[in-house]
Symmetry: C2
Subunit: 600 residues, 2 copies
C-alpha cells in the first residue's frame, strides 16, 4: 500500500520562515497564528491525513461510489466514519469566520491542511473542499437569513455543499445554461433542469446537502448576463432550521470516471426544486466566481498534493529497489545491484519533483496568505495589492500547478517501472486522480485565457507590473549574497523573458486576439516558472538565514539550497523556449482549414 507522511516540516518552514506569518500578529485572525500554534495545527492535520484518510485511498478507488435504485448514493467503506472524525476534529472550521462557528485562523494554515488531506485521499478531500467554495459564496452574497440558516452547519461539516454549474451542452460557456428558475409567490423559485459532473452531488456523509445552482429566470438576458445563483437544499429546512421535507432534486446517475472514484460525480435532476436567490437576480456569475476562485486555488493545491504523494512513493521505491550499477562503479559491493538512487535519470525525476512540489507549495501557501490579506491587510493599498496578486496567481497555480502535478505523478510512476502500471501498487491511481485537476474548475486552457485575456489587462496591467517588480526586488536582494548570485541571475533572466513576452502580447494581441489565444498556454507556463523562481529565491534566502543563524536542522536547509540550485539550472532554461514559441504567433496555429483536420 502506498505510504504518506505529511510534509509538515516543509509547510512549517514556508509559513513561519518564508511567509513569516508570525510577524503579522496585529492582523485579525493572525494573533492566534504564532509559530507554536501553527506548528501544532500543521502536525495534527498531517497526522489526521496520514492516519485516517490515507488508508482509505486505495480501497475507496477500488470500491467507488454506488448509486442505489432510490437515487441515494453510498460512499466507499470507511468514508462516513472518516468524515465523522473530520467533522468532530473541526478540520472544516479552520479558516471559517468565528461568527459562524469557525476558528477564524488564517487561510494560509487552512491551505496547508488542505494539501495534506488531498495528498492522503483526494476523492475524500473534495467533499469538504467543495463545501468551502459554497461557504465563501454564501459569506459574500448570501442574505443574513441564508447565512444564519446554512453557514454554521456547513462550516461544521454537518451539511456539505456543492457547486452546480455544468450542463450537458455547456461547461466552459455558462451563458448556454438552460436550467430554469421560476419565481413563486412565496419568494422562492422552482428550479428545473439537469446538471452534470456535480462532485459530491449526492452521498451518505451528511444529513443534508446544500446545492448552489446556476439557473436562468424567465426573461433573463441571453448569455452570462442572465445567470442567477440559487441555494437549493436537498432537504428543506423546517421551522427549527432542521432538515425537513425532501426537495425535488435527485441524483439521476453517477459517472464512471478515470479516477477520483470515491467522489460521487452526479447527474443532478432538478424537477421544480425549491430554491432561493443568492444575491441579485442575473448577477449569479459574479457570485459563482467567488466559489470558483476558491475552488481553483483548491484544485491547484490538488496538483501539488498528488505530486507529493506520488513523490514519497517514488522515493521509497528508489531507495529499496536494486537494479543495475552506478555509472561511476558499484556503490554497494555487498549487494548484487545498487539501488535506483544511484541512477542520474532517477535522481532527475526525483529532483524535478522536489523543485516543483516545494516551489508550488510555497506559491500556494503565499496565495493562502493573500486570501487573508485581501480582507485583513492594514491598509487599503495593501489589500488592493494582495487582490491584484491573488487574481494574477490563481490561474497560474491552477493551470501550471496541475499540469506539473500530473507530470510529476507520471514521472514517479515511471520510477516504479512495470510495477508502477500495476493497480495494487497505487502509483497509477495518483496519475488518474491527478488528471482531473487539469480539467475541472476551468480547463487549463481556460486558465491560460483567464491569465492572458483578463488578468493581464486589469487596471492597465497593474498586477503583472507589481509581479515583475516583486521578482526584480527579490533578485536584487538575493544578488547581495554571493551564494545566490547564480540562482538570482537565472530567475532574473526568466523575469526578463516574461516581461518581453508580456510586451509582445500587448502589441500583438491587440492587433489580433488570436495571437494572445495561441500564446496563452506557453505564457501561463512561463509565468509559472518565474513564480516558482520567486519562491525558490525566498526559500533559499530563508534557508541561508537559518544556517547563518546556526539552525540545528542543517540537513533540511541544505537540502533546500540544493533543490533551489536544481530549480535554477533545470527549470529556468525552458523560459526562453516558451517565449520564442509564443512569439511565432497565431498564423501557423490557425492556418489549417477546418475541413482538413479529419482523416479520410
Amino acid at each position: 500500500m502506498p505510504i504518506y507522511q505529511a510534509p509538515a516540516r516543509d509547510a512549517r518552514f514556508i509559513i513561519n520562515e518564508v511567509l513569516r506569518v508570525g510577524e503579522l500578529g496585529d492582523l485579525p485572525g493572525f494573533e492566534g497564528a504564532s509559530a507554536d500554534i501553527v506548528d501544532a495545527i500543521i502536525e495534527e492535520a498531517g497526522k489526521f491525513a496520514s492516519e485516517v484518510l490515507a488508508p482509505l485511498n486505495a480501497t475507496g478507488d477500488k470500491e467507488g461510489c454506488t448509486r442505489h435504485q432510490d437515487g441515494s448514493v453510498s460512499t466507499p467503506a470507511g468514508f462516513r466514519e472518516a468524515h465523522g472524525q473530520f467533522r468532530e476534529a473541526g478540520w472544516g472550521t479552520l479558516s471559517a469566520p468565528e461568527e459562524f462557528g469557525g476558528q477564524g485562523l488564517p487561510h494560509v494554515i487552512g491551505f496547508a491542511a488542505e494539501e495534506f488531506m488531498s495528498s492522503a485521499n483526494m476523492a475524500f478531500a473534495m467533499y469538504p473542499g467543495l463545501t468551502n467554495g459554497a461557504v465563501n459564496a454564501l459569506l459574500v452574497k448570501g442574505s443574513p437569513e441564508q447565512q444564519a440558516a446554512y453557514l454554521p452547519r456547513m462550516v461544521a461539516n454537518e451539511w456539505l455543499g456543492t457547486m452546480n454549474l455544468t450542463e450537458p451542452q455547456c461547461g466552459t460557456d455558462l451563458g448556454l445554461i438552460r436550467t430554469r428558475a421560476e419565481p413563486q409567490l412565496d419568494g422562492s423559485y422552482a428550479i428545473t433542469g439537469t446538471k452534470i459532473f456535480i462532485s459530491a452531488g449526492e452521498h451518505d456523509l451528511t444529513d443534508n446537502i446544500i446545492h448552489l445552482v446556476l439557473a436562468k429566470t424567465p426573461d433573463a438576458p441571453e448569455g452570462t448576463k442572465g445567470i442567477s445563483l440559487l441555494v437549493v437544499p436537498k432537504f428543506l429546512l423546517d421551522a427549527d432550521g432542521n432538515p425537513g421535507e425532501r426537495n425535488s432534486v435527485s441524483c439521476g446517475a453517477i459517472e464512471h470516471k478515470m479516477g477520483i472514484h470515491a467522489n460521487a460525480t452526479c447527474v443532478m435532476n432538478y424537477d421544480g426544486a425549491k430554491g432561493w436567490l443568492v444575491g441579485e437576480e442575473n448577477k449569479g456569475l459574479a457570485a459563482m466566481f467567488i466559489m470558483m476562485n476558491a475552488a481553483r486555488l483548491g484544485v491547484g493545491i490538488q496538483g501539488v498534493a498528488q505530486a507529493e504523494a506520488a513523490y514519497q512513493n517514488g522515493v521509497s521505491y528508489a531507495l529499496e529497489r536494486r537494479q543495475g550499477r552506478a555509472l561511476t562503479g558499484p556503490a554497494d559491493l555487498g549487494e548484487k545491484a545498487d539501488t535506483l538512487m544511484v541512477h542520474p535519470d532517477v535522481r532527475r525525476m526525483l529532483m524535478d519533483a522536489r523543485a516543483f512540489i516545494e516551489g508550488m507549495r510555497a506559491l500556494s501557501l503565499w496565495a493562502g496568505l493573500l486570501v487573508d490579506l485581501v480582507h485583513k491587510a492594514a491598509s487599503e493599498e495593501e489589500r488592493v495589492a494582495a487582490d491584484d496578486m491573488l487574481g494574477l496567481l490563481t490561474p497560474v497555480i491552477k493551470g501550471y500547478g496541475t499540469d506539473l502535478g500530473y507530470k510529476v505523478a507520471t514521472d514517479m510512476q515511471q520510477i516504479w517501472g512495470g510495477h508502477g502500471y500495476i493497480a495494487e501498487n497505487g502509483m497509477e491511481q495518483f496519475v488518474r486522480d491527478a488528471r482531473i485537476a487539469m480539467i475541472y474548475e476551468g480547463a487549463n486552457g481556460v486558465q491560460a485565457m483567464d491569465l492572458v485575456g483578463r488578468k493581464l489587462a486589469m487596471h492597465g496591467g497593474r498586477a503583472v507590473q507589481a509581479f515583475f517588480a516583486e521578482v526584480g526586488k527579490e533578485c536584487a536582494a538575493a544578488t547581495a549574497d554571493e551564494r545566490l548570485v547564480d540562482l538570482a541571475g537565472r530567475v532574473e533572466k526568466t523575469n526578463g523573458e516574461l516581461q518581453a513576452a508580456t510586451l509582445w502580447l500587448m502589441n500583438n494581441g491587440l492587433a489580433n486576439p488570436e495571437n494572445a489565444g495561441a500564446g496563452a498556454y506557453d505564457y501561463m507556463h512561463l509565468t509559472g516558472i518565474v513564480a516558482l523562481g520567486l519562491m525558490w529565491l525566498r526559500m533559499a534566502r530563508a534557508s541561508l538565514a537559518a544556517l547563518d543563524g546556526g539552525a540545528e536542522d542543517k540537513a533540511f536547509y541544505e537540502a533546500k539550497l540544493i533543490t533551489a540550485r536544481y530549480f535554477g539550472e533545470r527549470y529556468t532554461p525552458e523560459a526562453g523556449a516558451l517565449r520564442r514559441r509564443m512569439e511565432t504567433g497565431a498564423e501557423a496555429v490557425m492556418a489549417l482549414p477546418v475541413e482538413a483536420f479529419a482523416r479520410g
Copy 2:
C-alpha cells in the same frame, strides 16, 4: 463510441512519395511493393483495423481478461473471432520470409499495418506483435529444426509467441535473473522459475503458445554474460509436430493494470518445464536483443498509434462541440456558440498532435525501411549505414515516440473537457493504454541511456555523424527552395544544438559518466526533435514536388506544408532549452544526500 479511420492516405504518401519504396524494386522483396500493391495492402489493413478491431477496443478494456481456476485465461468477447479473421487474412505474414509461409514484403509496409492495428486496438495488436519479436529471434538464432518446427505456425499466427524476461527482482537489470535451466540427458533443459509481466503469456487465441525464456544454466557466469535463451512451448510437439503433451509452464495470475486490460499480463510459473536452447549457451542476451529491438520499434509505433486514435476523436469532438465564441467575433451567427475549432488553444493541441504524429509516422516507417535495408541493400556499405541509423533511431522512436504519444493522448482528452474524464467516452482509455508504452521493453530512461551510453559511442560515433550529415544534407537541399528556407533554417539550428550537445557529452561524459546519465533524457528528446525535423523537411519537399507537378489532391499536400511550418515554429524552440539544461551537468542532479529524499 470512439471513432477510428486508418490514416491510409498519409501512410501511402510516406511510403510512396517520401521513402519512394517503389524505386527500390531491384531489392529482394521490393519487387512486389509497387505503389499499386502498397496502396491496396494499406487500404485493406486500415479497413480490417477500423472494422474488426476498433469495435472491440472499449469492450475489451471494460471486460479485461479472466484467469480461471485451472490457470487458463480467456480474452474478452470477440477477441478469439477477431484473431481468427486476422489469421485467415494473413496479417501476421506480411513481412515474414516466404520460406516459412510469409509474404516476404518489406517491413515498411508491415509497420504501417501494425500502426493501424495498434490504433484500433492496442491490447489486441500486442498478441501478434509480440509474436513478431519471437519470430525474429528464432529466424536469427534458432536451429534449422527449431525454425521448421515453430516458424511456419507462428508466422501463420496459428501459434503465438511471448518474451519471458522480467522476474520479480529484475526488469531492467537482467543480470539478476534466477530462473534456472538444467540440462537433461535428451539435450533439452528443465526450466524452473517465475516470470512476471508476461504479455500474452496465456490466452485462448491459439492452440499453442511458444515462450522464449531467459534463464541461467548451472555454473553460468554471473550477470548478463551468463544468460541463455530457451524456447518453451506450452504444449510439447508430438511426432507430427502438433501440440501434444502439456508442458509444465502455467499462468499463476494475471495482473490488474492501469490499461491494456484486454491483453493478459501474466505471472508465468516454470516448474521443470521442458525447453531447448536457442543459439549458444550464455549468449542469450544477444538473442534477446533481436526480439527487443523489434519490440522497441513496435512500442514506438504504439506511441504514434495511440496519439493518432486519440487525435481523431479530439478532432471529431472539436468539430461538433459548441462552446464560446471566436476571439475575432462570432463565426457561426446562426448558432448560440462556435465550435471548439475556433479557439486557438484547441487548435494548438490539434496541431501539436498532427506535427508529432505525422512526423513520427514518417520516422517509424523509415525505420521499417531500414530494417529491410540492413539485410537487403545492394551494397555492404549501405547495409552497414542502415544498421547504424536503425540502431541510433530505435531508442529515439521508442522513448521520444511514446513520451509524445502519451502527451498527445492527454491533450486530446483535454479537448473533451470533463467528458474526456468519463470512461464511456473512451478518451481516458487512450491515455491509460498509451502510458505503458513509456515503460515496457525498456523504460524510456533506459532508452535514453541506450542512446547516450551505447549508440553514440559505437564505431567512434559513426552513426550520429551520419545522422548529422543526413540532416545537414536535407537542410541544404531544402534551402534551395525559398518556400522551405524558414523551416530548413530552424531544423538546421536544432541540428547545431544536437551537435553541440553531442560534443558536450563526449567531453563531459568521459570526465564523469554521471554527466551523461543526467543529460541523457534531454538528449533523447533533442534527437527526437531533430529527427522529426528531418522527416518534416522530406515531407515538405515531397509535398511541394507533388503540388508543383499538378497533383490533384492539393488539400492534402497543402495541409502537409502548413503542418511542416507549425512543426518548425512550435517544436524547434525547445531544442536550445534541452541542450542548455543538459549542459548544467550532473552536479545538482546528484548533490542531495540519499537520506534527504524521504519526508519526515
